[in-house]
């Protein structure tokens, strides 16, 4: 009996491909954001509110993942920005190979910002690097305040938490301060923006994106 020391990442293949994508994004100065949340917490709605006020000169493209249907791509296409649906056919997360494949016919010099809307799931997408600069997690006020404690992985890895549906706070027993405290207890440096379908906080969120975008363009922000 002998032992071979392997010491390799299980998702080595995904990691390699993600590193290649990251290198391409760096060359072309593209900001990439990977949005993750449970199903129904408002990823597509936040993106609709974002696109309706997005400056056309800042070229954005979107990839949106779901197990089935083109519904989200149809919703997002209304504002005229390029959108592609990734249908995973049952897989609970997006991986780097799907991103590479769906970006293949978009020239990398034709956009500045890539927004990836991951499959609705707080667990599995956390493990798959897509070559992004930032993960953004959305938590809605119709979920539980303790989600950051129950699913710490994604809150630890996210740069920003969007607390969505805050217009419903008067009607649901959700303690927003406790939810923010929980998020900060697993990730003290996490930024937090509160949003709603009515447009609350959307300007703050688009400013956040624009800030990151200028940092990528100036070379100040380089993804590790």
């Amino acid at each position: 009996m002998s032992q071979i020391v392997v010491e390799k990442k299980v998702l080595n293949e995904n990691q390699k491909l993600a590193a290649e994508l990251r290198e391409k994004f760096r060359e072309h100065k593209i900001l990439v954001v990977n949005i993750i949340s449970s199903p129904g917490s408002g990823k597509t709605t936040l993106l609709e509110r974002t696109l309706e006020r997005w400056d056309k000169s800042k070229r954005v493209v979107l990839l949106t993942g779901d197990l089935q249907t083109e519904n989200d791509a149809k919703r997002l296409a209304q504002w005229g920005f390029p959108v592609k649906q990734i249908i995973t056919g049952g897989t609970c997360h997006l991986d780097a190979k799907m991103i590479e494949k769906h970006l293949a016919d978009w020239p990398l010099d034709s956009f500045d910002l890539l927004i990836i809307e991951n499959v609705g799931n707080l667990v599995c997408p956390t493990s798959y690097d897509l070559g992004e600069h930032f993960k953004v997690v959305i938590l809605s006020v119709t979920e539980g305040e303790d989600k950051p404690l129950k699913y710490p992985g994604i809150f630890v890895k996210s740069e920003l938490m969007v607390l969505s549906k805050v217009d419903l706070l008067p009607y649901v027993p959700f303690d927003a301060e406790l939810a923010k405290k929980n998020a900060r207890s697993v990730h003290p440096g996490i930024e937090i923006i509160e949003t709603s379908i009515k447009g609350d906080g959307v300007d703050q969120w688009t400013k956040w994106l624009e800030g990151k975008l200028s940092a990528v363009k100036s070379g100040e922000l380089v993804s590790a």
């Binding site: 009996m1 002998s2 998702l11 493990s127 404690l149």
Partner: protein, 114 residues
Amino acid sequence: MHELSIVSSVLDQLDELKKQHEGERFTKVGLRVGELAGVDVDCLCFGFECVVKETHWEDLVLEIEQVPRRQRCPQCGEEFRAENWATACPKCGEAETVIIAGEELQIAYVEVEE
């Protein structure tokens, strides 16, 4: 539920490794899974059993080492286990400490019989 994808990534890598170790029998694979890796160990074990059944990996034993989250304080250098998600430095009180362990999802080793 991406544990099945994880099992197949492990087995793909073992198939590759096997090419460099012809004639040897792999008896056990050791994985290292951090508590922040987003992997459910019970699901992983169950997925593993389902996937290896009736394949050339049927007799392979899976051993999992779970790695707790550990932090390092950038101010005083203290390293500590982050119990119940309390990540502030227990020694000097610094709030923003750095993760040094707990994100692992690795194949650590395989055991072989020649």
